[in-house]
Symmetry: C2
Amino acid sequence: MKVDSSIKQKYSHETEELADFKVGVDNVIFSVDTTYNRVLVLLRKRAEEPFNNYWSLPGTLVRQGESLTDAAYRTLAEKIQVDNLYLEQLYSFGEPGRDPRENPDSFGIRYLSVSYFALVRYEEAKIIAKSDKSTSWYKVDEIPNLAFDHDEILNYGWNRLKNKLQYSPIAFDVLPTEFTLNEVYQLYCTILGEHFSDYSNFRSRLLKLGFLLDTKVKVSRGAGRPASLYKFDSEAFAPLKDKPLLFI
Amino acid sequence: MKVDSSIKQKYSHETEELADFKVGVDNVIFSVDTTYNRVLVLLRKRAEEPFNNYWSLPGTLVRQGESLTDAAYRTLAEKIQVDNLYLEQLYSFGEPGRDPRENPDSFGIRYLSVSYFALVRYEEAKIIAKSDKSTSWYKVDEIPNLAFDHDEILNYGWNRLKNKLQYSPIAFDVLPTEFTLNEVYQLYCTILGEHFSDYSNFRSRLLKLGFLLDTKVKVSRGAGRPASLYKFDSEAFAPLKDKPLLFI
């Protein structure tokens, strides 16, 4: 991309008035229901304007004295109870016009969204019940029209999920603590598409990395032979943490 | 991390007043001087309070109607002229207290920094001259005390650079358009440390990826035998773009 005097010129004609902002955090919270082999996203139904009654990513506006991460945890804690949580900052969305409240006859200020990416275990996460069912898991391939630019934010989170699955052990943050190798493979298939790898290559690559622990317990799932249950061995993974790794 | 009722309780005692923000963009701009084998960061000296006379990352505050990316390009175009530029959003820093202007007896509002990560070719980038030498390249291992939390932002950018070097072809965005394989290796050594790989393994892995084009031109650099000049072949790389790759 060229950055030259034409860009400077473009800006010399614009106002130099600074924009005023409120800052929101919006969370893309993924989990996986291994029983039905579904990747899920937590959504909540808005009960206020703008976008009243639209589904949206769970979010909140940052309060005085509150850090961005604390705001992300606060809105999470209002929606679900979880024991373990993987959370990282995703991306900031701040285009002019992304929020109708920017309109001069509304609040007349910009709204910036700092989005967060979270992974929780489906069977551990309890939705904090409200009688109005305003918080719910949605299958990633059956997402309704979302409020604001939340479809774009969700899409960004989905790409981060795909990317991290290839280079990091985040699969083991969403799978149950004990799993069969086939369940890991199914998770990868669901997110990366069926043709990312065949099962036997995937299986041998994963075992060679050396951080999956065979619990020696066998389970029968479906019609096949009983399969071993594995655990993620974080001690065995520790020396690999800063090494470049490929999982597929 | 546990997210439970104690966190909710913590927040129930806090003010629910929303914070007001100005939003800045700060750019971590890297280049590489292959002649002297140095990784460089562009810094500018502040000429205003707070942190008057401190070196800082080149940045600006977002104006009315301006997107975050446009603000990043605007401040870049004020500091350097470049033909090609790799730019991506890095991370948003928004801790309470990160900017002294937040103080009630100053402006009394929060300042959020959306940071950007940029790569430019050293020999193509011209610093837009000011007689006061307020913009300058600094070696990454000789950075002065920076204003605000810019040391933290720079460190975040440095880690992104290391990470991307392992998984993506960004080296070829900072190297000259024609380079020897030894120059690629030296760049990796400078950023990842000397022991990341030995030269012959690195060289064969890189050539096997299949996107380096031998120009058949040989150059003599230093005492060794003349070495071939290579080019990054973006057409050969295109089908690999979305595949998981390891560069070291």
